[in-house]
């Protein structure tokens, strides 16, 4: 039965606290995913023709970037100043800061380059919290099982074991850095359950955990004498040794004057985050402006193996209304606290605490089958019943979700009185560069941490594991990179890998016109192309 409603009609029909009815018989998860999850949309995948993952399936928009030409050529490096450091961290989010701090703690000279400003990242948008098995009834084993199960057992058990094992220590470290967490009345850390967890395990700071985390990380990084920070410097290309097999540095471009800088290092840590701003399959995204998948492109060209390039996470509850905030996140914590999802008929259609991919697929099913709600500004969505939650637990929204209230206030919506319209939003890249427990990629000298790395979350991530990963693996990568050894022989910095990639593209008959990494989405700087013709940096 189709009964798609306009926003006004649906809002008029909505009654807070009305009986949402029993849950329908759940659909087989695999069938639900293959029929409705965006990863399975026809035409969304292509097969990679060149590179370490040749022959594997990859999301189309990403494949175009992985199989593109570099933005610079050797001649662009003539007269470019060289800076030397021990460890170069690319990315100024949580993983980059954690890696920089860990490397500096080991005595390495660290340079942290970020293409926007320190802290401009997805880390600050993480609302729900961070997982760590700290409750008496919980255990690392349970955490590991939950992570692997939610990831459809595609995760690497060794990496997951490292992740969950790091959990309690990561929280301890964060507290030492000065981070605030919500506490119970007795002063213990307050925990919430999350979709796909078998115990309450998410520690949090109201609904802006990531923002609070970034606050203390920024302070620590800025204060550390061993860390130099270059803001507004995009990584244009990595540098390789003579054989093109080892990473020995990177070329950075200053965004303000387009001048280039060469950074020569012992090791490079990619902490560049995800790629939401590629808007895969035309989806809106919860990601920040810089999430253009640069790290994947750079690593792939240098020969690093990637994994799960066909698996992305669409967060179930992105805002639909107003268009300005389209794709912005409504935390999963609100469902963990008890908010329900309702279709246009006011009926529940899915257990809200299923893993994210399942819930997203279910929302897409409701909308595609005509049980969605259409605002006049376009789009479609289902209700997230915040008003019902407020009715059952008065004051909870204000106490625990102030960020949500502030954000919806801009849109003239009061979630305490009316439900909010949500639809899945492109949220997270499940895969990424293949790493070991030290964060080392398959290319010597190149490390990856955070969203750009893969292998931990399998084909679906559960809430709270991203913040845990960026700190846990960020610190692992930082420590390992700081200790990675010196080579015998003169240090050669070349673009040999760019030649190799170009040769592979030419032999595969692929066009050489497209250039990557993007650095910023196309709509950010229209008309600005990526030429760095012998631009000279400031002396």
């Amino acid at each position: 039965m189709t009964c798609s409603l306009s926003y006004q009609e649906a809002l008029a029909a909505y009654r807070a606290g009305a009986d949402p009815g029993p849950l329908p018989e759940p659909m087989d998860p695999d069938r639900l995913l293959s029929a409705y999850h965006p990863d399975y949309l026809p035409g969304s995948m292509t097969t990679l023709a060149v590179g370490p993952n040749a022959g594997e399936q990859c999301q189309r928009e990403l494949a175009e970037l992985l199989q593109a030409e570099a933005c610079i050529d050797e001649v662009d490096l003539a007269g470019v100043p060289v800076a030397d450091t021990d460890v170069l961290v690319i990315g100024g989010g949580g993983a980059g800061c954690a890696a920089a701090l860990a490397a500096a703690e080991k005595g390495a000279r660290v340079l942290l380059a970020t293409k926007l400003r320190l802290g401009d990242s997805n880390t600050v948008m993480a609302e729900g919290g961070i997982q760590a098995a700290i409750e008496p009834g919980d255990s690392a084993q349970k955490h590991m099982q939950d992570t692997l199960r939610a990831g459809h057992h595609a995760g690497d058990p060794a990496l997951v074991a490292a992740l969950v094992g790091d959990g309690p220590d990561v929280i301890r470290w964060l507290i030492r850095q000065g981070m605030q967490f919500d506490q119970t009345s007795t002063g213990d850390l307050h925990t919430r359950p999350a979709g796909g967890t078998s115990a309450p395990r998410v520690v949090h700071c109201r609904d802006y955990t990531g923002l609070e985390m970034m606050r203390v990380l920024r302070e620590s990084v800025i204060q550390h004498r061993g860390i130099e920070v270059w803001e507004q410097h995009s990584a244009v290309e990595l540098l390789s040794n003579e054989s093109g097999q080892k990473c020995v540095g990177a070329v950075l471009a200053c965004r303000t004057d387009q001048s280039l800088r060469i950074v020569r290092t012992r090791s490079v840590i990619l902490a560049t985050g995800g790629l939401g701003r590629l808007h895969l399959n035309g989806f809106p995204t919860s990601n920040h402006l810089g999430a253009t998948g640069d790290g994947l492109v750079l690593a792939y060209r240098l020969g690093a193996k990637l994994s799960e390039l066909d698996s992305f996470q669409y967060h179930p509850t992105g805002l639909v209304n107003p268009p300005l905030l389209s794709g912005k996140l409504v935390t999963e914590g609100i469902r963990a606290a008890g908010a329900l999802l309702l279709n246009a008929q006011g009926k529940r259609f899915i257990d809200e605490l299923q893993p994210r991919d399942i819930v997203s697929a279910a929302i897409i099913r409701e909308c595609r089958e005509g049980r969605g709600i259409h605002p006049s500004s376009g789009g479609v969505g289902v209700w997230l019943d915040t008003a019902g939650l407020e009715r059952s637990q008065p004051g909870l929204l204000e106490r625990q979700f102030p960020k949500l209230l502030a954000r919806t206030r801009i849109a003239g919506i009061d979630p305490r009185k009316e439900p909010i319209l949500v639809y899945p939003t492109l949220h997270y890249q499940n895969g990424g560069a293949v790493i070991d427990v030290d964060g080392a990629t398959t290319v010597p000298g190149l490390y990856a941490a955070g969203e750009v790395a893969g292998g931990i979350h399998g084909r679906n991530r559960i809430m709270g594991n991203a913040l845990l990963e960026i700190i846990g693996f960020g610190r692992r990568a930082g420590a390992a990179a700081a200790l990675s050894g010196h080579d015998r022989g003169p240090k050669k910095i070349t673009l040999e890998h760019v030649n190799r990639a170009r040769r592979a593209l030419a032999l595969a008959g692929l066009p050489l016109a497209r250039r990557a990494p993007l650095m910023l989405p196309a709509y950010t700087a229209p008309g600005k192309d990526l030429t760095f013709t012998a631009n000279r940096a400031k002396p």
């Binding site: 050529d73 050797e74 001649v75 662009d76 490096l77 003539a78 007269g79 470019v80 100043p81 060289v82 003579e242 060469i262 022989g489 003169p490 050669k492 910095i493 070349t494 030649n499 170009r502 040769r503 030419a506 032999l507 050489l512 012998a534 000279r536 940096a537 002396p539």
Partner: protein, 416 residues
Amino acid sequence: MTESLNTNLLHPRQRVGDSLKRWREAGGGEALALAVKNPAAVLELVKEADLRGLGGSGFPVWRKWEAVAQAPAGTDKYLVCNGNEDEPGTYKDRLLLEETPHQVIEGALLAALAVGANRVAFYVNPDLKRSLAALELALAQWQGSERQQWVGDALGRPVVLELVPSSGHYIGGEETAALEWIEGKFPFPRGKPPYPAQCGVHGCPTLVNNVETLANLPALVRHGAAWFRAQGVGKAGGTKLYSLSGDVLHPGVYELPMGTTLRDLIFVHGGGLLSGKPIKAVFTGGPSNTLLTPADLDVALDFDSLKERGAALGTGAMIVVSEGTGIVKRVAEYVRFFAHSSCGQCPSCKTGTATISRLLDRIDTGQGTEADMATLETLCAMLPGSGRCHLVNGVVQLLDSSFRHFRQEYRQALRP
């Protein structure tokens, strides 16, 4: 053109790996059987064929041979098969050792027979792990074999085959440095004269030949000098292993007639330049030689033709760079390699190469001035010939020719 590719040393028939049985099935050992009957004929054959030293010198092989052969027979005589290959852009010896080690061993025994060497040392860079492993397996099959016995009988004393992993230093490839290492010392090049033929390993007459040179001998003995000369183009004889790399579509090692043109090598065999960019320069053989430019595309790649143009074939390495490549950066990179490789015993080389490298780095990173350019030019005039070996000369040659062809590019990188 493909019928001229890999006709001799790298013919698929010869690439049998480390199995002596398969080498024998491919006709291996025949040359040795011919040679033991008349050892003196081998030297004559080499002279007639005008075989050159293919390790980079292009020096007539027979002249070294004659000197060793004529040395008094009272002491041991050594043959060193030089496989230290470590130059940027050169990959030929490692391929020969890896894919056809028996050809190299048989060639070495032929040379030993011709000059009367009773101790044969295979001097191989340990960084070439696969080559070293293949040679070790191959050599084990010759030890104590009937064929080794033939050579011993012909020489009148047993012939000893020995594998000596080198130090892996670039400078260890210099022939007198190899002698030092084989004597158990650090591979410092010696002053010349005396030449190795007079006073080599432990003061004994010693012949040092490159892997590729020796690998040419079995086919030469089997087919004769006329056949050998016919393999080359024009006056040049035989074939050459060209190591083609850089901005070409199909980089690799190509065995082609000696004297093939640069154009054919790049465009017919190398598949042309990447993404159709124009060619800018070619770093040859080492790359411690003069640069080639697009004007040299039709030059024949053999020792004499290149020498006439003031260039050199060197090891046969051709590093092709296209428009879009910074010459200063490349030269700085290669000079850095040589400066790092300098053994340091000659002060002019030690400080000269380091200074050149430092100045080039300054220019390359946008910090250089006109004064730095002037210093470099002075060094180019002062340094050549001031070292025991050719390392410093090579650096100057590379730098000087890059100045001649690309001065504008250096100027652009200077600090305003």
